[in-house]
Every structure is written in C-alpha cells, then in structure tokens.
C-alpha cells in the first residue's frame, strides 16, 4: 500500500484501523457503510487478523466484547439503525471497561428512515444511547484524512481510558473519495497487552474476570466514580476542535463532520460579502469543547451563534449549554437526508444572524 492514496472514506477508515493495530472486525451489512466490512474481509486475513460477518448487529458488538476482553484491538461499524441495536453491547463494553472502536456512518431516521446522510444520532452518541451512567469518546471527522488520523489513534485512546470510542461520520463522509496520506503500519508486537486482559492462562488469585455486574451499591458506585474520573481526565486531554476565522467574527457558525466543511465554505461566502463570519467545529463531540464556546461568547465582537446540523436540533443544545445564555444561539437544521449548501447557510446567516 502506497503512503499516498485516493480512497473512499469507508475504505480509508478500514485501512487506517488495520494500520493502527486493529486485528478483529465483526460487522453486519447496512448501507451506507458496507465498504468497511467488505474491505476488512479482504484486508484483515493479510495481516493475520480475523474478519467475521455476524448474524446481527447485536452479535457483532458482543463478538467485539469477547475479542476486546482478550486484549485484541477489535472494532465494528454500522449505520444508524444498526447502531441502535449495538447499544446494549456498548453499555456492557463501558461497564466492563473494555476498549473498542465503533464507527457510525449516520443515515437519516427515526426508524428505518432513509439511506441519505444525516446527523440525527448525536444524542445517542454523546448522551449515552445504552443504559447506565457512561460516556464514550466521540469523534466527528470532517475529511477522509481526518478519518484516517483519528481512527489510527482511536485504539490507543480506547485502551488508555478503557472505554469504547465512537467515530461519528455520515453517509457523505463514507462515500466521498479523497487523497489521503496513510500512516505506517503499527507493529502490533510492540503494543503491550493490557494487564487486565483474559489470556486463559490464569488460575486462583491471578484469574482475570471481565464483568460489569456489581450487586453491592458501594462497590458499583466506586466503579461509577472511577469511570467519571476517567471521563474528566479525557475531557482535559482529548477535547479537540477547529477554530476558523473566529478572532474577529460577529457570527460564529457551529457545525461538525461534513457539515463543518460546508459551513467553512459558507464563512468564505459571508466574508466575501463583508460579513465577519467564523466557524467553530467540534472534532470531539464528547468531550464537547464547551470552554471554547464560552470563551467566544464572552468576546464583545461575537453577536450570535448559528448551529448548523443535519437534524432538527441536537448539538444546538450543547452549544446553548456551553455559552450560558451570554449570546443567542440559532439553529439551521435540515433532515430527511437533505444536506445544507454553503449558500443556504450564508443566506440564513445574512437574514437571521445580523
């Protein structure tokens, strides 16, 4: 594999996962992410890894749970309805403190919805779609290169914080082809096997038990507090965002993923018309870059925020929470698989934002 390649988002994600040390993939077909399992079915055996097409999304995430329990870098991918089915397993991964990577190439909903791009799974990803008090590290890449960079390192993050990491993309990102610079293949023999991992070789006191059941309230609360401390640590270290022309911006657009790119073009249109627009694009949706939003809201040059998303209002709630009422936060949302254009955003900003 050449270092530089022209790749579809889904394929680039699969390749970068393998380069990053992924050696087990379990998944179930669903549009628009099928290139990931298809690519993995061919690629993983070449590096001594294991691909298996599961009988369901539920089985796939539990296979990930089994492989992850043994300290092997494991992942699954799906799209919205399939991700709903994985929620039970995601909660168990979080509860058993197991690292794993889950890719959601979002389509529109609710229900069977449609197969066009959408961002309606934001709440499910960042607020905990499964039961219980847990969080994931949630990334929202906006380019194929960013997909590569994020998933290449995602297994390290998952292992560091012992939790599931989600890559939240959308149908557009999965299908778009772009030139990417691929990183070098990680030598997995150099990746230290976690001390908690099941090997089958332990007995007596040294037995490894992977479990999320704690009957004693104090014992479980201790676990909850340990997880919360880890989430706090993650917020400190991993919160990521892109700030674009916000230094003098009067209108700050807030958008993530592919919509972040579209919003960036809208900033260009608005600037060419003499309107001081900027963009704050969260790269991690959990932890959310709340402090960055708050700091911007405290500047007198910032008049308004406009959240642009492919849902009728999900991330906008986090933006509103973050700015603490200091500045108005408007919403431009599209749904059903319709995608906003830079012109739509510029027109909305001109009409509502000033």
């Amino acid at each position: 594999m050449a270092d530089k390649a022209l790749m579809k988002g889904n394929e680039a994600i699969a390749e970068a996962a393998v380069l990053g040390g992924c050696r087990c993939y379990f998944g179930y077909p669903i549009t628009p992410q099928n290139e990931i399992p298809e690519y993995m079915s061919k690629r993983l055996p070449e590096v001594g890894g294991k691909f298996l097409q599961a009988e369901s999304e539920i089985a796939a995430i539990n296979m990930v749970y089994g492989a992850a329990a043994c300290g092997v870098r494991a992942m699954t991918s799906s799209s919205s309805p399939g991700i709903s089915l994985k929620q039970e397993g995601i909660s168990y991964l979080a509860g058993a403190e197991l690292p794993a990577v889950i890719v959601n190439m979002m389509r529109c909903g609710p229900g069977l919805g449609g197969i066009q791009p959408a961002q309606g799974d934001y709440f499910q990803a960042v607020k905990g779609g499964g039961h219980g008090d847990y969080r994931m590290l949630v990334y929202a890449p906006s380019t194929v290169q960013e997909c590569v960079d994020i998933i290449y390192n995602a297994f390290d993050k998952a292992e560091k914080y012992r939790l599931p990491v989600m890559i939240l993309g959308d149908g557009m990102l999965g299908q778009i082809m772009e030139a990417v610079q691929l990183p070098k293949m990680r030598d997995i023999s150099e990746i230290k096997k976690p001390e908690w991992a099941v090997t089958g070789e332990n007995k007596g006191e040294s037995r490894k038990i992977i479990n999320s059941l704690y009957i004693e309230p104090d014992e479980l609360e201790t676990v909850n507090l340990r997880l919360a401390a880890r989430y706090a640590e993650m917020k400190k270290n991993e919160t990521a965002w892109e700030s674009y022309l916000t230094d003098d911006a009067e209108i700050v657009l807030a958008a993530y993923g592919t919509v972040g790119r579209i919003a960036k073009s809208a900033v260009g249109i608005l600037r060419s018309k003499g309107i001081k627009a900027g963009l704050l694009r969260p790269i991690t949706l959990y932890p959310f870059p709340s402090e960055v939003f708050l700091k911007l809201a405290e500047f007198s040059h910032v008049k308004k925020f406009i959240t642009v998303e492919l849902s009728l209002g999900q991330m906008v709630e986090d933006v509103r929470l973050a700015v603490e009422g200091k500045k108005p936060v408007l919403l431009l949302g599209r749904a059903g698989g319709n995608v906003v254009t830079p012109e739509d955003i510029a027109a909305f900003a001109e009409k509502e934002g000033i």
Binding site: L52, A59, Y65, A67, A69, C70, T199, R207, I209
Partner: protein, 245 residues
C-alpha cells in the same frame, strides 16, 4: 492414607449461591472436572440467569456476557485466542429465548467451543416465569394455570434443532436426575471438550436439571419431575456425533 476423592482444582473455594437441590452445582462440578486436562488454558463465558455468578466458581479466566450473547462473546474470544479451550455456560432463557440467534449461528459456523446448556424449564433468577423450554401444562408465574401451547407456544427442543446444522461436531442431551445419568453426562461433557481439543468444531451438551425452588417441589420430587416429565418432552440421547478421527 490414599486419597480416594478430591475436589477438582478447576472449581474455586467460593461457596455457591445456588438453592438446595438445584442442578447447577452438579453441572458445575462435571464441567470443571472435564476441563482439568486443559487447566491453565481455559476461558469460560458466564450467562445471565441463575448462573450469572459462575465467574466466581470456575478456576479459570472468565468473561460475563450480556443476556443471551455468550456464544457471540465466545466467538470473539475464539478469534482472539485460537489455541485456548473455550466454554460457554447458559440456561434456557439465556440460550433458547433471548439468545437463540447467537447459539444457532455459533453452531452453524461450527465455532470450536463447548456449550453447556442447563435446561430446567423455568426462569430461576427472576422468580419462576415461563421459559422457552417450559413443558406444556407446567405452571410458572407467567402461566399460572399451566403452559397452554395454543396461547404460550410449545417448548423449544434445542438439541434436535441444532442437530439439523452441519457445523456441530457433537450434540447430546443428558439429565442430572440419577447417578447413572450424571455419569453419562460427565462422559458426554468430557467428549465435548475432547472434540474441541481436536479442533472438530462446535460441541454442545444439554443437561436437564432440577429447580425445586421455582417448581415448588422438594428436591426428591424435583428429580422425579426431571425423570418422569422432562425426559418425555426432551428425550435423552446423542443427536449428533461426527466421531473420533
């Protein structure tokens, strides 16, 4: 003095939480004894149900699975650890109801694992509700007049169903109701693990087991219920055996 009996090293010294007269204790011992030859190279998967704490009792690395998902978890373990002995321990609600998809596909793939299936025809841990294997006419808290097939369906015969698949190497149904049958169960479980050791693929042993607490019978009557009632719906025998090499 010569030692004539010794508790297997594959069980921990933790006291179990099982009710008096329950079959899980016998099943645990048989399974633990059968894994002795593989000691130090064993991974077990525990279910949700009465055996949810099984990870406290087996002296090997253990993984607790979500309800019904143990065969999928074992499939992941098998992918990660191709050379270890892997067993799955499941009850009837876990395996034959909420986890039916997982067990059928693990069997169809011929995943090289051994599954021990405890069939006591009731949901024990949750207090005696109807199971997928509850007999016609048998009372449970969610079919208080007795299971009526017209309304509540028929018991699922898992061995017979899995035996239609090409993946399994060995499928047997035994009962824990008499010394003779317990010995036969021990032999079947040993054979299942020996097939796994020979990489023959999926092996499966169903154990008809008593639940005096939720059947509202004393332990002796409960064993009689296994012998006289359960074996009528779930006949004992070997349903598939691809044979030794």
């Amino acid at each position: 003095m010569a030692i004539v009996f010794k508790k297997t090293d594959m069980l921990t010294d933790n006291p179990t939480h099982y009710c008096p007269g329950c079959g899980h204790g016998i099943a645990h011992r048989l399974l633990a004894e059968a894994t002795e030859p593989y000691s130090g190279n064993v991974v077990g998967i525990a279910p949700v149900g009465c055996a949810v704490f099984a990870y406290n009792y087996f002296n090997c690395d253990m993984i607790e699975a979500a309800h019904g998902r143990a065969p999928a978890v074992a499939t992941g373990v098998r992918a990660a650890l191709p050379d270890k002995t892997v067993f799955v321990y499941q009850g009837d609600g876990d395996l034959a109801s909420i986890g039916l998809g997982e067990i059928v596909h693990a069997a169809a793939r011929g995943i090289n694992i051994t599954v021990i299936f405890i069939n006591n025809a009731i949901y024990g841990m949750t207090g005696g509700q109807m199971a997928p294997t509850t007999l016609a006419g048998q009372k449970a808290t969610t079919c208080q007049g007795g299971r009526t097939p017209a309304e509540a369906g028929n018991p699922i015969k898992v061995c017979e169903m899995l035996a239609t698949l090409d993946g399994p190497s060995f499928i047997a149904r035994c009962a824990l109701d008499s010394v003779k049958n317990v010995r036969a169960a021990a032999a079947a479980i040993k054979k299942a693990f020996s097939y796994q050791a020979q990489n023959k693929g999926f092996s499966f042993v169903e154990l008809l087991s008593s639940c005096p607490t939720n059947w509202h019978l004393n332990p002796v009557e409960a064993l009689k219920f296994v012998s006289e009632k359960m074996t009528k719906t779930f006949p004992l025998g070997i349903f598939k055996d691809i044979g030794e090499n």
